[in-house]
Symmetry: C2
Subunit: 457 residues, 2 copies
């Protein structure tokens, strides 16, 4: 090999990556290194009691072992029979998903997401996860440099998903915090986060002041990191707003099935597609949240915009979903009886997990925004910061990490003020979440002391 | 819904797609509309005898029914058992592929692609097909506007795969056609296509004259559309050339296992990684050709460039391979005894299919470049064109289409001169390929008459 590796080359070094290639190597979220370290050393009551409890990933791990795994094994058993296996071509075909699979997905979405409208399988495109779907829509709908207006606080990875490979610029429209009269028996801060016309116009004005041309609005409903569904009134406000300003509306409804609150008066999920339709409405759904199958990388784009479908179909050649995975998906979601009973049980367990963590937080005297949907508590730890700064927020996060648990810092979720953290209450077992709260209480006790000491000086 | 769809909006119409979104809607290859029409109306001896025979897709359909399908059903049967199913996490994990799956793929590639070197699973990234891998490497290695030098003739879809989403500019380095003394018993044109230093320098000079900054060299070995493996001498020429000019070398070795010639003296596949190594060498492989599983969308990038791996890992969040598909892949490729016997049988059948089509072509008096590897005949139909133009080549293609078969026009394969067509001899059954040749002979007979008549005038 020696003669092929010339001296000249060794002196110069090999050619570099592209500029964007080098940029892409940066972590997609700020706390990824800690996250990866923790995921490589996860708590297990028997094999790794000193391991990390990770409540920073948006995962629902409460139903896999006894419900989903048997169903998936059953799906594979079916696919081991030639007659069933033959339903799925092994060859080149429709890159955005096989027609029979898209039909089954349309049925799933009619059950869980868009409940009043018949969905057309030809308006559906499969992508490897909703991350991929967001990036795809950013490419197809936005020109580089265009702004994307997002009600804030919002999901940490949108910044990466909208910008990398596509060059769009996320820009927040901060929701209003409206004080409410809350019955004594309802826990949590007496505040309702709301999208209002004023909040949207303010966000747009701020975006314009930054020189952004905003052509896309990205809604997450139910919300993340805040755990609630938007009301019909809010959705109508959004729809009127995007039409007034001629924007596309991408509605990420990946938590549509996770509406676990049983309390009367809490909004349940309504899809924008149940309120309007048109070439400017694009709904996203997937299997990573309600079904917790984040490793299956299964996202769905529903759009009646024929040009968008054409463009997505063409681009799907670069990011299509593997045939065998489509087949497994088909077996899972075409059984709507299973889907119905699964989601009912999922919400029972989510409600229970939510109640348990709520109990721990309450006993620790930690304030929080009460979740009614999706998977998160936002907890208020402002008084435990050494100073009201983002650095202090990250410093406390690092202390959590040293004490073997991870929760998401509020800055990553685009909170306006330092000191809030997102806790996913379904990402670990009841026992592991209790341990996390215990470790948290120890950190806070020591922090209170040291901060008290500091302020004595 | 009426009040949400304001009149103002209806007058203006909905917002448009992005510029690049609209561009992406264009077909990835020039003959895609005919291809899709034909694939929707495929020949079947019993159910659709008047249907199309498609020999334009690069597919190997000769082993699915009796060998691959039973093996895949067996893979699913294994995955229906909890203990086996548990080997594959259903949750977020390494987006570029699970470690155990990458280890199995490294073993597969050591068997079929890189035979003398131990491969490191940490240098492997899974992508949804090699199409996706090419696009990924274009993004990671090239800046928009950079040129990619490719020995020509070359694979039709590279133009799309290198340019869409990434903005790179493919530019040909035409191989030399060297006349050879060919024994009487060897069929085909007595010509050897060769990559030489002169051909590469000429291609680079032409690229520079177009103002291109060439930082990437893309080799396909074995070749497509020409069906042969490059010699060690040619590979060494390429390696010296890319190092002299400080380029990255992407070596697409997706046909590595398809070396069907049994004739002594025909080059068999050697990987560039068996001749050199370094941060500038990137090898691609996948399951779509040797295994014919194009619908599984399974591509592999092997690169020892740690920065590239980091960047690809990060970007893999947008185009990762679904967990269940990785599990099925694992069951298939970790059985190396199966892989060995499969590839031996595949080459027996490819040799046989190649011989049969060769017989038809010879009896029709059609000249061709003899394939020794990959899946294609390039046939010379120059004398059947109504004029020596690309329009006439496309006109004849349309006549083929009207007569219910599709083969790839040479222009799409970047031939220099009109009148060559690529025939994939493994994309249909022996009987269907015989029918294609029969339909071809009828077209050529009628064309000869009409052209003869035309030249009489």
């Amino acid at each position: 090999m020696g003669n092929l590796n010339s001296t000249a080359r060794e002196e110069d070094g090999p050619p570099a990556l592209s500029k964007r290639g080098a940029e892409a190597a940066k972590p997609a979220i700020s706390y990824l290194p800690e996250m990866l370290a923790a995921m490589g050393d996860l708590y297990d009551p028997e094999t790794n009691p000193e391991g990390y409890v990770v409540a920073a990933a948006a995962e629902n791990k409460l139903l896999y072992k006894d419900i989903l795994e048997p169903k998936l094994c059953e799906a594979h058993r079916k696919l081991s029979e030639v007659a069933e296996h033959e339903l799925f071509s092994p060859y080149y075909g429709d890159m955005r998903g096989m027609p029979n699979v898209r039909k089954a997905v349309a049925g799933l979405m009619e059950e869980l997401v868009v409940k009043k409208k018949k969905l057309d399988p030809d308006c559906l495109c499969l992508t490897p996860g909703v991350t991929s779907a967001v990036n795809m829509m950013a490419f197809v709908l936005g020109n580089p440099g265009d702004g994307v207006l997002i009600p804030a606080p919002y999901y940490p990875a949108f910044d990466n998903d909208l910008h990398t490979r596509t060059g769009l610029v996320p820009t927040p429209a901060r929701m209003e915090k409206i004080k409410i009269d809350q019955p004594e028996d309802v826990p949590g801060l007496p505040v309702q986060w709301r999208i209002t016309e004023a909040s949207l116009e303010k966000g747009l004005a701020e975006a314009k002041a930054k020189g952004l041309n905003v052509r896309i609005f990205l809604l997450t409903n139910p919300e993340n990191p805040l755990g609630f569904s938007h009301t019909v009134e809010e959705l109508e406000t959004v729809i009127k707003f995007v039409r007034k300003h001629k924007m596309h509306l991408i509605s990420d409804e990946i938590y549509a099935g996770d509406c676990h609150s049983a309390r009367e008066g809490d909004a349940t999920h309504v899809s924008v597609l149940d309120l309007t339709e048109g070439d400017d409405i694009h709904v996203l759904y997937g299997m990573s949240k309600d079904f917790g199958l984040s490793g299956h990388r299964m996202g769905f784009i529903y759009t009646e915009n024929k040009d968008a479908v054409k463009s997505i179909s063409s681009l799907s050649g670069f990011q299509s979903v593997s045939g065998p995975a489509q087949a497994v998906l088909y077996e899972l979601v075409s059984d709507l009886d299973f889907v119905r009973s699964y989601v009912a049980e999922s919400n029972r367990r989510l409600r229970d997990a939510c109640d348990k963590v709520q109990g721990h937080l309450t006993s620790l005297g930690i304030e929080f925004y009460r979740p009614t949907a999706s998977l998160f508590f936002m907890i208020d730890l402002r008084k435990y910061l050494s100073a009201p700064t983002w650095d202090a927020e990250m410093e406390l996060f690092q202390t959590f990490f040293k004490n073997k648990f991870i929760i998401t810092p509020g800055k990553a979720c685009h909170f306006k003020e330092p000191g809030y953290y997102r806790v996913c209450f379904a990402a670990a077992s009841e026992e592991a979440m209790a341990l996390l709260c215990n470790r948290l209480s120890k950190v806070l006790a020591s922090v209170q002391v040291s901060n008290a000491a500091a302020s004595d000086e």
